[in-house]
Symmetry: C2
Subunit: 414 residues, 2 copies
């Protein structure tokens, strides 16, 4: 059973409380605004959102539309996942009964296997029949397509809808275009088509709109970013572009830090523009460290998932995590899960070897469930704006901004 | 904060485990079946369902479509209520933003006031604007109807939808028919129009269908009943009918008790056919007690809510409650709440002066929240079929059968 306390608290105080106060005190407007947004931009089937909380600033730093890690969700909250899945499917069509789940090919990864097991169990308990197949195994079933009027049939199982849990990093097989069943999330939103830069541009727009609604500086919920194409870390091709953009980025972050009297030093995350799984990411504290990347770092930045070549990067403002897990004092960052626009909880990702600026999504990380009672839909004005209930409401809002961003991306690919 | 243990356990063992086992082991089919039912029969906005659990038999004994008692729900689960309300309204129309809540007139009842306060808070936190009015105060606003093209406006507030929390025991004001806004739940489902007999007949049909699905005897989830019209307890008019039907009912219950080797004595609840608030209910253990009703009992059975005359009754098989609250050993009966078809928890109703056959809904009752972790959507096959998780899943199924029954009633009035 999950503990009722998250045991995660702010590392240090911060002067600017605008963000917290504005979100906590404007729940009614915020919920109304989201309602209107979802009506225009239907949310993707599921997502997991990595959030970084620097106190004065809270922002999503990664939005995964093909989430894994379902095994890390709190088992006690299973009814939430079931209810959210039922709602999502009901919204598409009450006729849906059979679901095909297309997974990653690397299902010998035991963490991933365990995630798929959990996801499958949630879907089955929601009252659907489910069959699982790796993307790689799917093509052999395609000979049947003509016999079934274009409906994909896998060993006689004709799904009503297809759920992708494969991020299509390896490219989208052409035959997915020929299948008559609906595929969720939209197959055009795989990493073959999508870039972090696109996502950040959409997010920037969403953050602007939302900030206008609650009257805050949008920087408080948005990491600044710039991008560079045609990079080759091995040959140093494109290094000028990288340095130029990093200088610009350090400059505008420093200006904001000055404005808000933040004493920390700005830093930047350089990320593969279509990378996942925490691969292809380095942290730089200054311009020199770009010039002085060592061989190991250059190698790391040359390959991303599936062995694809990394040739575009995004430079993203690093956001310190001011949350620590007690009593170990490990740095913790929240990861929020959703089905549709329903937040269903999540966990803190922690790493005992990482400091408060580093990417925690790396081998050695551990997880601690976000306690249910702090679920993300209802702030409490009787508590301080820093209470867990209120903090998690804020996370829920930030996570939904990221989901809305993905919804807009999908909307525009359709 | 709610305790994680409900502290409610079975009073005694029972031989027949068909009901428990069939429900627990068939979650997938059950969820599928409900999905199809909701697609045909949209659920009412909200409900509270009183359930009695005799171990071998579990059934709803009262289905309230204008529920009070929201103040007794677990505050920690507020996000569930919010999420369910948002879903319900979204399903009607994403355009809904302003809600008028029409309450009972007796708002000086502090329990009722407190319930309305909680309900209002849930709705507001869901992102809706809400205004509250008593039914009795509404007529004064009707002069505006012509000015607003038939849309009800209360002090300049023009709701997008109207929520009834008045059960219309006092009759439905004609003007509700002239208002253009949608009224939920359907105004034709008030006690002015509805009878317990109708509900029980619909329930019987739902229970039959469901029992066929999971292959059980439908008696295991249904109280037998018969009804009598034109009763006057003061003048004894209709007593013959009452005795005749009571004899029949005792007989068929006894036959079932024999079949299942139940050692208890059958009993019958006589209830006003359109009564609420636990009024107009007596318990009889044998035919003689009908003949020998004393003056106090006869008076009690002559009036129901709003001072209306009681002239029709339903005779309903009494269901023993085999659940006791520890450590006091008070008899406990579960009450389950819903918005739409979403179960959102509930509480145990207890009474320290009542035994395991009596109606607990009477002055002196107390409440204990049903613990969240036992929420009603997900059984656990790794636990015994009597575990809390599994018991609450069964309650969730029984409650949904009652909600579905109300949905069918509404469907047929439209």
């Amino acid at each position: 059973m999950a503990s009722n306390q998250s045991n995660v608290e702010y590392l240090k105080p911060f002067a600017n409380e605008d963000l917290h106060f504005s979100i906590i005190s404007k729940q009614n407007q915020i919920e109304k605004w989201f309602r209107n947004q979802w009506a225009k931009y239907p949310p993707p089937f599921y997502s997991s959102i990595d959030i970084r909380n620097a106190g004065f600033k809270i922002a999503p730093v990664d939005t995964n539309l093909f989430p894994a890690g379902f095994n890390n969700l709190d088992k006690e909250l299973e009814f939430l996942y079931i209810s959210a899945i039922q709602h999502f499917m009901e919204r598409i069509s009450p006729e849906i009964s059979k679901i095909l789940l297309i997974t990653e090919d690397h299902t010998r990864n035991k963490f991933y296997e365990s995630s798929i097991e959990s996801l499958t169990s949630f879907i089955r308990k929601s009252g659907f029949d489910i069959k699982i197949t790796k993307l790689i195994d799917l093509s052999s079933n395609l000979k049947d397509l003509s016999k079934t009027n274009g409906f994909l049939s896998v060993d006689g199982f004709i799904p009503d809808i297809i759920v992708l849990n494969n991020d299509l990093s390896g490219g989208m097989p052409e035959y997915l275009n020929n299948i008559k069943q609906q595929i969720i999330p939209n197959k055009n939103i795989g990493w073959n088509n999508r870039s972090k830069t696109d996502h950040c541009e959409y997010y920037s727009n969403v953050a602007d709109n939302f900030s206008r609604l609650i009257e805050i500086d949008s920087w408080l919920i948005e990491p600044y970013f710039r991008n560079c194409g045609e990079i080759d870390f091995q040959t140093k091709q494109g290094e000028d572009c990288l340095i130029y953009n990093a200088e610009k980025l350090f400059h505008i972050i420093q200006k904001k830090y000055d404005e808000y009297e933040i004493k920390e030093k700005p830093y930047i995350m350089i990320k593969a523009d279509s990378g996942t799984y925490g691969m292809g990411i380095i942290l730089i504290n200054d311009i020199d460290s770009i010039k002085n990347l060592n061989r190991k770092q250059r190698t790391k930045m040359s390959k991303i998932k599936g062995g694809n070549k990394l040739n575009k990067v995004i430079l993203q403002e690093g956001i310190y995590s001011y949350e620590k897990f007690k009593p170990t004092n490990h740095v913790a960052e929240p990861v929020i899960y959703s089905f549709g626009h329903n937040l269903v909880g999540g966990f803190y990702r922690m790493h005992d070897l990482k400091n408060n600026s580093e990417n925690l999504n790396s081998p050695g990380m551990s997880f601690h469930p976000i306690p249910f009672k702090e679920a993300c839909l209802s702030p409490n004005l009787d508590e301080t704006i820093f209470s867990e209930t209120n903090k998690f409401y804020i996370y829920g809002v930030i996570a939904r901004l990221a989901i809305l961003t993905a919804s807009k991306e999908i909307y525009n690919t359709e």
